[in-house]
């Protein structure tokens, strides 16, 4: 479902912030507040395009909005969201026409992430790792993000991605080795 192609709904709740708060399930607002960054980051890093990432983040949360009553607990909700956004991203990238494409920076705002502010993080290495991630297969990208962004263990990743644990481990090992190898010749202190 592409939400950007949705026709405006024929009927909308009444105006006012108070009303908006009342009509929007509180659990949805809380989920949005808690998980927006992680969902968006996964989408951005898998697709490599902010426009796609924003669209897919919207799609994931709209799916959640429709499925909210089925959520059992916060952990279930989080895993559900991760699964939703990863699969949305993978589906998107399977469509060749939607692969990341280069655009002129004169006409579009940059899609790159803002540099990390933490002192211990090497901004050049961070940028390089983001770039290398985009060179991995889409499944490997998802595995790496679930491991290093979400800190899921291989069994958790396997559950989200519908993969065997061994496949997850294999992706992790090969991706880490490859990325380390790529950075080894560069002056990142690795």
């Amino acid at each position: 479902m592409r939400t950007t192609n949705q026709k405006p709904a024929a009927s909308i709740p009444d105006e006012g912030l108070q009303r908006a708060r009342q009509e929007m399930p509180n659990a949805f607002l809380q989920a949005l507040r808690e998980h927006e960054s992680r969902v968006y980051s996964i989408a951005l890093r898998i697709t490599g395009r902010r426009v796609d990432a924003e669209e897919l983040t919207q799609d994931a949360f709209l799916q959640l909005h429709g499925a909210l009553e089925r959520m059992v607990d916060p952990d279930h909700l989080k895993r559900w969201l991760l699964r939703a956004v990863v699969h949305l991203c993978l589906n998107r990238l399977r469509d060749e026409r939607r692969r990341p494409k280069l655009v002129s920076i004169d006409t579009l705002p940059p899609d790159s992430e803002p540099p990390a502010t933490e002192a211990a993080v090497d901004p050049l290495l961070t940028a390089r790792l983001h770039q290398l991630l985009l060179e991995l297969s889409t499944e490997a990208r998802a595995v790496m993000l679930l491991r290093f962004q979400e800190d899921l263990d291989p069994s958790g990743i396997a559950a989200v991605l519908d993969m065997s644990v061994n496949t997850v481990k294999s992706h992790l090992r090969r991706s880490i080795d490859w990325m380390r190898e790529q950075c080894a010749g560069e002056n990142h202190g690795i």
């Binding site: 192609n5 709904a9 909308i12 912030l17 009342q22 880490i176």
Partner: protein, 541 residues
């Protein structure tokens, strides 16, 4: 650093643009509306409602942002020779019933106002969607041209032609337009986002408008201020006004004019209230926090005999927390005959001044002595905490010795005044939260609400909102409430109720109601929806 640690640091989650949250909330609200009501109603009403809700959603998103990011933009007003009304023009009988202090006099010296951040730079991005429909592309391009023209006409605004021009600026505002849905019946629907870009900062202030219609065939006829016309020029004018008010730094001249209007005691009270309302709605709402505006509000309350106006002014003062307000609030609680004015005043004391010793003294007195039970209960809410308040609400709803309207009044107030101290023990920020807490609510209360459902259309709507938030399944008392709401429900309300009834799988009353709709309802969409709910219910069982 270990390589894996580097990976963790590199892949730490990043915040998206704040506008994204607005968009999600807007879309979710559209989904909610479509789910709840369906059908295609009068387009004008729909557009207005979409716009209003988009604004509300943007405000929700705004309020959900990190505290550090939600600092209001500094109000940029340049003092001019046409300053606020001199003190001599303000009647000296302000606050007759409140002890007058040096701070609470109506002196309205020219205010200390920071200089305007002039000029305001705006970058309107070119259309970036891959739109193949020539009508849509033409419509959006025409609208963008009109918007650019309108913005150019505002003296302090500078339109940038590309991103390069924004380099080196301390901040600028970016406007993006995207198509929403397909062009049908000659109307192109768009989303518009505006955000402030501050280099080096991740958080940006933003607004989102969703579901704006562009109709190239529409002739531009004058519409009242604040309303929009679907012709490109009219829509551009509306959007420009909206952005001017909600996104860009306030227009110093307009702010000053409104402040003068609010201070001018020779004007009729409704016109002064109008000015205060406008100031409250201006970006950040900071204009109303000015000491002079607080004094203007106090003066208006103390000189007006209209209880509706006075109640409205106290409502506007929500969150202002200026110490000068405590004395007139106390005076209102002592001297005001109108219960609604006292209710709004005690709500201000409870929400904004509960920790102030002088205010607490007033609240203690009100909790003991006020003639209106709800006013006493709100005062007690500040003194006794949320658990007592929640209990009071539920007890009141069930209390057969109270009149129906008293019970409705308590519940309606409860729903409209959620606890503002999120995270505090027993603090429920919404009715749904309270009702999900099984310890707090019982079937008797739910049945009582069902019994009250038919008393007024406003209360029916209140309950529908609550029901939407509850989403409880397989609870007989909930079925009773849903069935009570179904009696005499409109088509839109039935849409909402079918969803609720479908989650009451095991209750035969729910099934019977759905079957009746599926067979007998004159609306084919409703019949289909009910039939689908029955099929889903069967497969779940």
């Amino acid at each position: 650093m270990e390589f894996e640690q580097q990976l963790r640091a590199a892949f730490a989650p990043r915040d998206p643009r704040p506008e994204l949250r607005s968009r999600i909330l807007t879309r979710a609200s559209i989904q909610e509306g479509a789910k709840g009501k369906g059908g295609r109603a009068n387009r004008t009403i729909v557009v207005g409602a979409i716009l209003a809700f988009a604004a509300a959603a943007a405000m929700v998103a705004w309020s959900l942002r990190d505290e550090s990011a939600s600092q209001p933009v500094v109000i940029a007003i340049t003092p001019s020779t046409a300053g606020p009304t001199p003190a001599s023009e303000v009647p000296q009988n302000a606050e007759p019933s409140a002890p007058r202090t040096k701070e609470t006099t109506m002196a309205s010296d020219p205010q200390e106002i920071p200089p305007a951040p002039s000029p305001i730079h705006i970058l309107m991005l070119p259309l970036q969607d891959d739109i193949s429909d020539p009508v849509a592309r033409t419509a959006i391009n025409t609208f963008q041209s009109e918007l650019a023209e309108t913005l150019r006409a505002i003296p302090e605004l500078v339109l940038l032609s590309d991103l390069k021009q924004a380099e080196g600026l301390p901040s600028y505002f970016r406007i993006t337009v995207r198509q929403l849905g397909e062009t049908r019946d000659g109307i192109t629907w768009i989303d518009l986002e505006g955000g402030e870009e501050i280099p080096g900062k991740r958080r940006r202030n933003g607004v989102a408008l969703s579901g704006l219609p562009i109709d190239l065939a529409s002739t531009c006829v004058p519409v009242p201020e604040g309303q929009m016309s679907p012709c490109p020029k009219g829509l551009a004018s509306y959007v420009s006004g909206y952005l001017r008010k909600r996104l860009f730094p306030p227009d110093p001249g307009q702010l000053l004019q409104l402040q003068n209007q609010a201070l001018n005691a020779s004007l009729e009270s409704p016109r002064r209230l109008e000015a205060l309302t406008e100031l409250a709605e201006t970006k950040g709402g900071g204009a109303l926090r000015e000491a002079a505006m607080v004094r203007a509000a106090i003066n208006l309350i103390s000189t007006s005999a209209d209880p509706t106006l006075k109640a409205q002014v106290w409502k506007l003062m929500k969150g202002i927390r200026h110490p000068d307000l405590i004395a007139p609030l106390a005076a209102t609680m002592r001297n005001e005959f109108d219960g609604e004015v006292r209710l709004q005043a005690v709500t201000r004391l409870q929400e904004d001044f509960a920790s102030d010793p002088a205010a607490r003294e007033v609240l203690e007195s009100v909790a003991r002595e006020d003639s209106r039970p709800l006013v006493r209960a709100v005062a007690q809410r500040a003194l006794g905490g949320e658990a007592d308040w929640n209990q009071y609400v539920l007890t009141s709803v069930k209390d057969a010795s109270k009149t129906d309207m008293e019970r409705i009044e308590v519940f309606t107030y409860f729903v409209s005044q959620p606890c503002s101290m999120a995270g505090a023990s027993g603090c429920f920020s919404s009715s749904g939260q309270l009702f999900r807490s099984r310890q707090s609510v019982d079937d008797e209360a739910m049945q009582a609400l069902a019994g009250l459902a038919g008393r007024s259309s406003e209360f029916r709507q209140t309950l529908l909102n609550v029901v939407n938030e509850l989403r409880e399944s397989d609870r007989p008392a909930m079925t009773s409430l849903l069935l009570a709401l179904l009696d005499g429900a409109t088509t839109g309300e039935k849409h909402q109720l079918i969803t609720g009834l479908s989650s009451q799988h095991t209750d035969p009353r729910s099934r019977a109601a759905l079957e009746k709709i599926a067979v007998e309802d004159p609306d084919s969409q409703l019949r289909e929806l009910a039939a689908k709910a029955l099929r889903d219910s069967s497969s779940n069982n």
